[in-house]
Amino acid sequence: MPDITDKVPAPAAIPPSPSTEDGGGKDTGKAKPERVASMWSDARHDLIRNPIFVVSAIIILFLLVLAAAPGLFTERSPFEKGFCQLSDSASKPSSENWFGFDTLGCDVYTRTIYATRNSIIVGILTTVLTTLVGSLLGMIAGLRGGWLDSVLSRFTEIFFALPLMLGGLLVASIFQTGNVVTVALVLAVLGWPQVFRIMRGAVLANKHNDYVMAAKALGAGTWRIAMRHVLPNAVAPVIVITTINLGVYISAEAALSYLGIGVQSPNISWGLMISDAQSRFLISPHMVLFPSLFLSITVLAFIMLGDAVRDALDPKLR
Amino acid sequence: MTIIDKTADVPAPREAGSDGVPLLEVRDLHVEFHTREGTARAVNGVNYSVSAGETLAVLGESGSGKSVTAQAIMGILDMPPATIPRGEILFHGEDMLKMSGEERRKIRGSRIAMIFQDALSSLNPVLSVGYQLGEMFRVHRALSRKEAKAKAIELMDRVKIPAAAARVGDYPHQFSGGMRQRIMIAMALALEPDLIIADEPTTALDVTVQAQVMELLADLQREFNMGLILITHDLGVVADVADKIAVMYAGRIVETAPVHELYKRPAHPYTRGLLDSIPRLDQKGQELYAIKGLPPNLTSTPPGCAFNPRCPKAQDICRTDIPQLFPVTERDGGELAGRGSACHFWKETIHG
């Protein structure tokens, strides 16, 4: 379970333990290889029967459709001419315009729908980048050990000393373009050490297991051991953190945009919409309410999914 | 594991309590566990009794229900998932299953105490051994912190831990395995209980240390005239210290006997199998006997005698009728005190 935005060095799903040097992930990836096959099928079985998984999966599917084809849900487009009419400024929700209008007289419903795409893109792009970089470096550090491991580990510790929002503030101010891809890059720069730490911990936890020793004794090469024995057992914790992080990054994007350093106008973002409407919150709460609702439900869905996946992959925690 | 010393003296049987009521009597005890996979019947009508100064050894493989019975006596079963649908546990003639939680708590530790198998995990890692020993006196006897510490040192001396006064503030991980088990024994003895239940007290120890710990336990038992229930799967441990034995299989007692009677003439094929699978010096070079098959799954025990799929003597009746604990007699019908066997063919087994 992550902890979002306003705090904490990169969303800390696993609290940094003071003794991480000696293989942090002591509660991760303990599964033995002969259990791997049944672990995955058990997990699939558990997932399908878990109502939390089903509900979150349905919500996420819906959001993906929304992001891919917003035109299916609204006839208007926020990019068309005359979309915003100042005469409609801050009108309350009505039967024609369900979510009402914002200060500039733009339809809140259409904007909220269209903002889904940006949130999902940031979430997925950031997750892909952090997972690739973090797990690759984490695996190398865990398998190679030695000075390379020390250097990489110390380097990531620097990032943990830096609160996410604070780092975001600085890095986003350097890039300054305010489009979706740069925001994802900013978050990825700050987020990869977390995946690194988990991957490294999981690799270390598995590296010294008896079955790896046995494989070594049988003369298997390092590369083969890494691919066949260590990696499959280290994947589970990374999958869990990846799923949860999707929600965390979406939330972080909204927070950066809220502060005016993430996605910027004319691009649309829930965080930006909330920020723009904040000053009139007490008078016209609808302008804040609807984007907030979409944002919260999206984040909730991904975190629930991550929770369900973790429960399925690590039954010990149930 | 251990070679049985057949020349050991038969300990004189000790008399029951002065009023004739045994210290502890378990009657028709049933324990079930309700799990996702179904109901596991861990204990199916166990009867046994222990008197003051007497040692009862409960013998069985893991999953035979021997530990669950002990936990039911202690009142430390997790309920749920466990339930006790039937049975009585009489302590000084009073049914503990009918007592309130508070009444039972007062008995636990002070009048019935338990020694667990793995002392390292059974002792709290973050509290000093002195604190954990002294806690008994602080909770049950309302002693002050200082008095409790003095008592703790006394106890550690008693179980022969060297430099007790200096080590009273040490933590469990700073002691060796044998010393840790001595601390467990000291904790159980602290309030001089009437009955001690020792659940595999020496299994986790080195063979050389095993004997020392068992000897200590037996000495202390004699000194305080306590009842002792010794749960084990190790026949060697039993021979030297026990007065009588109850062999358990799949939640039932399959044979009871005074200790040396059992070794000489087992009356149940399962007991015979256990005895035959002990390595013996006089059979060096021969293949070691092993009971074939696996212990039954408790959610679906086989019909009839639970041992029938593994039994070399099994007949049709064994697959349909559950044998009760028959009294075992001599070939001529002469009484054999304290002997019983839950086998349809006990006669053939003991005399055949």
């Binding site: 705090k7 609290p15 609160p163 929002m165 809220y258 | 430390i76 509290l127 008994m136």
Partner: protein
């Protein structure tokens, strides 16, 4: 024990140096010329600009500026802004408010989080446990600026329970922001406590404690919780630093003149010395908090103390 602490201290040094150097690079990579920012709309006088550049060592290579700066920090000198104000002054004005806010949040998350986690673990699978699971999910999912708005609207305006914006003379005015700031961590601590407690309740030594005839309360508090607290303390310590540095949104939402607001403003105005000063302090706090955790860790777990 002593060696353990010294080792942790030595390990903190590269993190401190690395983090401050990273910040140094980031701050100087910010686009825009700080001297030009001073002049505002007008073009800065090149002569004056050159003098200022010399005065603030802006012409030196970055690593020299860094060494110069860190040398100052060691003697307690955090430098001054380009308008000549001591950075230490600005910080001593802003930090007390943020520290107060962070401590309130810390107390809220520690007390409520642990209590809720323990009760959930004890009533495992029951009504209360489910309530706790669902509410913690909600608390982590709702972003802090949304949560803050909701809290202001309900607790502040509709029910009029707590003040909704900061007032220097009213300590109660930090309560609502403190709760909002704490919310996500509180939910995390609740879950961590629940898991950790459930694990320890299954431990053999808890069974022993019950077999000793101890009261349920004593078994739970002395024997289970004492062990379950070890991972929780770790998280709490790391979080204390994060609470101080991460309150940017909360401070903005409740108009609190703390470090977060100052930082956002200074980044915008390219006041490099202020940004570096504040971030250096925050990193120091983070490292100090982690050292305290290491200490507490050793106090709570004798296996570490005597290792």
């Amino acid at each position: 024990m002593g060696r353990y602490l010294i080792r942790r201290l030595v390990q903190a040094i590269p993190v401190l140096l690395g983090a401050t150097f990273l910040i140094f690079c980031l701050v100087f990579a910010l686009p825009g010329d700080p001297i030009q920012m001073l002049a505002g709309e007008k073009r800065a006088d090149p002569n004056i600009a050159a003098i200022l550049r010399e005065q603030y060592h802006l012409n030196d290579p970055l690593y020299q500026q860094y060494l110069h700066y860190m040398g100052g920090v060691l003697t307690g000198d955090f430098g001054e802004t380009y308008t000549g104000r001591a950075v230490a002054d600005i910080m001593s004005e802003r930090f007390p408010v943020t520290v107060q806010l962070a401590l309130i949040a810390f107390a809220v998350e520690a007390v409520i989080g642990v209590a809720a986690g323990v009760s959930a673990a004890l009533g495992r699978g029951k009504f209360l446990d489910n309530i706790v699971l669902i509410s913690t999910l909600l608390l982590v999912s709702v972003p802090v600026f949304v949560l803050g708005s909701i809290a202001q609207l309900t607790l502040g305006v509709q029910w009029d329970l707590l003040p909704i914006s900061y007032d220097e003379n009213d300590p109660m005015s930090l309560l609502l922001p403190g709760i909002v700031l704490a919310a996500a961590s509180m939910a995390y601590i609740t879950r961590l406590t629940r898991t950790s407690m459930m694990e320890t309740l299954r431990a053999d030594y808890v069974r022993t404690a019950i077999a000793k005839g101890l009261s349920r309360r004593r078994v739970i508090v002395r024997h289970a919780l004492r062990n379950a607290l070890i991972p929780i303390v770790t998280f709490l310590g790391a979080d204390l630093g994060a609470l101080m540095g991460g309150a940017i949104i909360t401070e903005r939402l409740f108009n609190i003149p703390g470090v977060g607001g100052q930082l956002a403003q200074s980044v915008y105005l390219r006041e490099q010395p202020v940004v570096i000063g504040i971030v250096t302090c925050l990193i120091l706090i983070y490292i100090a908090a982690n050292l305290i955790v290491d200490l507490l860790y050793a106090v709570l777990d004798p296996r570490i103390r005597y290792a």
